[in-house]
Symmetry: C2
Subunit: 298 residues, 2 copies
């Protein structure tokens, strides 16, 4: 395991999710071990990797899928982290208390301790993505979590569309922003121009965060088709496409739409080199940014 | 000329700049007329279109190139605007007072009046781009200028790397962000991977602003090679590549590296359609954005 500021190997676990949460957890642990065997220092799992994307419908029974932090998922993954000597970024459907749930992640250190948690700040709500029903918006703010591999900028899915979230995380000194994700197409978006434009926009906005902040960005998505259940819509085809890009937005590695462990080398020193060439942080007009705290400037 | 919220034709004047400011102004007036003849309702010129990119060296004599607003450039262009019944976005090296200069633009209405001005907020300073010597940072804030074609979000060049600038302009209700630009390669960046990555990053970060704000974005650059003069560096090859993209970041039109009038249809109604599909503005965590007004979160 390298020291902070040293290059490290990042692995993204692009995986399908089964109906059985225990099977998904066991599968994830196996894949994380495989990634460590392949040389990974830091391994990131997709959003809510332990369960089907239950937010396709609003069903109170789904709250039974939530668990505390620490809890069964972090305990199982802590064992893998300790055995392999790696850092794991583990998304968790968090039960914080009775009737209080978050879409969270825990960063697990190589000694099995929890280095920090992040609770998804931006909660979407769209047809088949009824997250506002399930998740209380995060109250920990944006976070760069210190680890033995350096600071990890942790965000989750819908956060990826918000330049403010990327900026506030990067300003804490993270050379890498990690976006565990669950995004895909509804059936009428698969294989057409609209669907392709959505996937391209998803990549482009995140590559834009890399460029604007001179940092590495990684997004890790699930794959496979998951039927909607009771909602009346057909379901979601998760598009995979997990990727890592450098501080100029150049793609270093990208997955297809099948299960895959995606590896890339993160070189934190390139952040400073990039900022010397493109000194964006020097010139931000912070004297004029207060209106960013307003909903609309009408 | 359409009413606000109606579709309109945008024209970007990608042009080379000669050593003679009067010749450049006459050339620009001619090209703007040509664009109007081609159906344009709103025409945007490149940054500092009236002069070579003098910021390649620091020379006090170059302040003689500055002019007031209103002044000779806005007067000449007001005549074109009136004749053609179009709105013109005209970058100006502004002499505001003795020893006080800005990198500005004036928006000229179809009746020849000045609808508003914008003064570049983010001022770069890099080898061959010594703008901090010439330009006082803007003190008008970010602006969406109301015109007979709707609100025009006006920004200039280095602003294009700042998500905060795009957001603050879009939040004022502009369906279109316009970036007059002067950007190119130093000789050792032409035709290699590094140069290509720079140009791609420049497009990507702006397409990212379109996506994050669900607005149209247009950038208009100059073309041609301009020697550096006394600075000892060889000069800049301006890369052209002016483009217009839609609220999903899709390229609607893009120029090559030669002189060109680029036309595209802007449909303001698509902004609301895009925000219904991707309701980013609904969910911004404005309660957590105050630290954006800080330089670094250390």
């Amino acid at each position: 395991m390298p020291n902070a500021e040293e290059p490290f190997q990042l692995a993204l676990i692009q995986m399908p999710v089964s109906l059985d949460p225990d099977a998904s957890l066991a599968h994830a642990c196996g894949r994380v071990s495989d990634a460590a065997d392949a040389g990974a220092d830091v391994v990131c799992l997709p959003e809510l990797f332990r369960s089907p994307y239950f937010c396709q419908s609003e069903d109170p029974a789904n709250f039974d899928l939530a668990e505390p932090i620490p809890g069964p998922s972090t305990e199982a993954l802590a064992e893998v982290a300790t055995d392999a000597g790696i850092v794991i970024v583990a998304p968790i459907f968090e039960r914080r208390g009775a009737g209080l749930y978050h879409n969270s992640l825990a960063v697990i250190e190589r000694d099995g301790s929890i280095a920090g948690i992040y609770r998804k700040m931006h909660i979407p709500d769209d047809p088949n993505y009824y997250e506002k029903y399930y998740f209380t918006p995060g109250d920990l703010g944006f976070r760069a979590i210190p680890t033995s591999a350096g600071k990890l900028g942790t965000l989750i899915c819908w956060d990826q569309w918000y330049p403010e979230a990327a900026r506030l995380t990067a300003l804490q000194g993270a050379p890498l922003l990690l976006y565990p994700t669950a995004i895909g197409w509804l059936p009428d978006e698969v294989g057409n121009d609209e669907g392709a434009a959505q996937r391209d926009a998803w990549m482009t906005v995140q590559r834009g965060h890399a460029i604007a902040n001179n940092v590495f960005v990684a997004a890790v998505n699930r794959v496979g088709f998951e039927p909607a259940g009771g909602s009346g819509r057909d379901g979601i085809r998760f598009w995979g496409g997990s990727f890592v890009c450098d501080p100029q937005g150049r793609i270093l590695a990208q997955a297809g739409d099948e299960e895959e462990i995606l590896l890339a080398t993160i070189e934190p020193a390139r952040v400073e080199a990039s900022r010397r060439a493109w000194p964006f942080l020097r010139d931000r007009r912070i004297d004029a940014f207060e209106p960013l705290t307003r909903r609309f400037l009408d």
